[in-house]
Subunit: 399 residues, 2 copies
DNA sequence: CGTCTATGTCCAACTAGTGAACTCTAAGCT
DNA sequence: AGCTTAGAGTTCACTAGTTGGACATAGACG
């Protein structure tokens, strides 16, 4: 640890290399590890033995019908990670292992008006339940990823004002959960985690740059640049909901006028349908009705799509991501909303940028955020955590 | 080279570490190197000897009034880099060394209608002249950075259509210059290089995320994210000039309507002043008149600023950079344009993002691009090039 | 002028990776 | 069945390279 530039650090780096290779591939034989990592067979042999002794890796004596290949894979109980996602109306928890496998996942409704304390209590309970259900060892928890539906101050870890969970403003979610679970907790907002989730498990596999647009009560975007969440220095990157589409448009809750959100977010869109469809409509309902053919709902959704498309076109001109993934309730509308988005992008983005852009619906639906939280825990943990035989049960730090 | 993960690669990494430390600090004693790099004194001793023998580093027997410290610094002639910038109306070349010092710099007018061949000939001549003037060894050229005022296809290195140098579309500038100079040439567009230049030498020192907005015949932005130029998968990131401000605004050359450019670029703005100020006005002239107090020009510049501010507000919401640097002719207008920009940003960006944003004029003026080209050559070279005694005189690759 | 102290160098010890030789096992051929 | 073949994994001697400690050096301080 104390030798930053030499010898043993090299060994460490090679250990990580091997672990990473195995994790990415699921399972490999030693010869394959040698080939993909570029290390010599002898070195791989030593490293695998060391990892096996440390318990981070499992060697299944002979797997395929081949000659004598021993396939190496991450041992399932080497460590587990947990994803927790506080959403608009529900709480969702997932348990996964270091091999990127999701072992269990569950969600339950969350009372919007519940205090933050109640919320965290509930989260703790649900986590405990899932851990028991999967039968894993509590001490093996390597880290927790936590998603919250609002802006997080990166430096202090304090939750900014959120219209979605009003009573939670000013709390420090990571600290709260860390106090209850005793392991490192890493927070981020739901849009960023959704982006990460889709990148790792969903519609963004294999892509390095991705924008995840989440339309729900508000509109937010999570940006992944070069394989990493991009938060911006202030942590507020991705606020696509408040780019200005029409300087003299409706007044937005942010104080400006004509923000994208005023044309697309549920709270602004649903009233349009009140007189014709009644007052107790939800976005989900509108989407369902539209799919069933209701012309009014279809029109509203298409209009929303067009406006999102304008925003995406701006995003595309500025950032030129290779993929845009649409998440949130609205994604359920499929082509009804994607069509207009693509059309709008084609119209407003410069052609060379638009040509390379793919707009896809999220593949994970409401699970994107929890899975992203899982991915966050995995990535923040760094592979090096795997390498100490002892996984941290007390947290050295939390973010 | 062939050992990707081991031993000699460690040595290489340590060599680079030392070179980098020395380069950043200017000059260090061996003990200081040991402390900043974390390597042991013995290792540093060996490495310094190796570097000294290789000629990349110079050891001045005793420098300060201390005991017996030998200060180690990059030898001035260890290698030089060259920046070439083709601008709207001029060609600019700079010569620098690996210690980030600019040894010589010169610009000359360039005929817009000249063929690309003529342009590259002129560039070659100017480079030769500067090399002779500084008296450095041609064989020491480690790389060339090249700026072109138009979109470059990252894969093929082909220059896309540019309204600024019409005859150059479809040429491969890097290849052209590589053919003439025989060293690796790395191209990028002028906005990206301006961003890099300001980041390394100008108003962006010490910042990791920066947007450089260049207003000239068009409007472009160069983005630096996490200390690196961000080009986007298609290489067209930063096209701030074509985000839509007004869906029913003037038709833009890109085919859309109401692009930022139609409110801010010279070709759209100058006509506004034709009836009052004559037809042979340039953007530079407008700026000068505005500074002298001409109310019409002041008004025009303030309006341009407001529109740029709207674009920057969008940029700020999406990307949340910590700094925006304004370059190009317009930057000369100082507060006359920055005031309205800041005002517009304050109005249209979400407050939490706007609060962290600093909008500054470029510190390098027209030199930003050449210096950025220099920085590009330095960064693309990678420190490892320093480590072979022989700097490449024939190029293994060019980008 | 002697002592002190930080610098740089040398040397022996140690760590860790590598190539080559070797063993093992199953598949394929005769 | 028996032989050959070939890829997988292991062992071993070797080598590259870093480190801690001993040692020499030379200005600073008293």
């Amino acid at each position: 640890m104390e030798t930053p530039g030499s010898q043993s650090s090299l060994h460490r780096a090679n250990l990580e290399r091997v672990v990473r290779a195995v994790r990415l591939a699921g399972s490999l034989t030693q010869a394959e590890i040698a080939r993909t990592t570029g290390l010599s067979a002898a070195t791989v042999s030593n490293i695998v033995r060391e990892l096996k002794d440390g318990g981070t890796v499992e060697v299944t004596p002979t797997s395929a019908g081949g000659r004598r290949a021993r396939s190496v894979s991450l041992s399932g109980d080497a460590g587990i990670v947990i994803g927790v996602d506080f959403g608009h109306t529900h709480l969702r928890v997932a348990v996964g292992n270091l091999a990127h496998q999701v072992l269990a996942e569950e969600s339950e409704p969350l009372d919007v008006d519940a205090s933050s304390t109640q919320g965290f209590d509930r989260a703790e309970q649900l986590v405990s339940r899932l851990i028991e259900a999967t039968g894993v060892d509590r001490a093996k928890i390597a880290g927790v990823g936590l998603g919250v539906p609002g802006p997080i101050d990166v430096e202090t870890g304090t939750l900014g004002s959120t219209a979605i969970l009003p009573g939670w403003t000013g709390t420090r979610p990571a600290e709260e959960l860390h106090g209850r679970l005793g392991v490192p907790v890493h927070v981020d907002n739901d849009a960023n985690l959704g982006a990460l989730g889709e990148l790792v498990w969903g519609s963004g596999r294999g892509v390095r740059d991705l924008a995840y647009i989440k339309v729900a009560s508000g509109v937010g975007a999570g940006l992944v640049i070069n394989g990493q969440i991009y938060r911006g220095p202030g942590g507020t990157a991705g606020e696509i909901g408040h780019i200005t589409l029409d300087e003299s448009g409706p007044v937005c809750r942010c104080g400006n006028r004509g923000c994208l959100e005023t044309f697309t977010a549920a709270r602004y869109v649903l009233p349009l349908l009140q007189s014709s469809h009644g007052t107790d409509l939800t976005m989900e309902g509108v989407v369902r009705l539209a799919r069933d053919g209701d012309p009014g709902c279809r029109r509203v959704i298409a209009d929303v799509g067009r406006h999102i498309g304008s925003g995406v076109a701006n995003l595309c001109n500025l950032l030129n991501p290779s993929r845009v993934v649409l998440g949130g309730d609205l994604a359920e509308a499929g082509e009804l909303v994607l069509g207009p988005i693509r059309e709008s992008v084609g119209r407003y983005a410069i052609p060379s940028a638009a040509r390379r852009l793919t707009v896809l619906p999220g593949a994970l639906g409401g699970r994107a955020e929890v899975l992203g939280a899982l991915a966050l825990a995995l990535s923040e943990m760094g592979d090096s955590t795997l390498l100490d035989g002892t996984l941290p049960t007390a947290a050295p730090a939390f973010t």
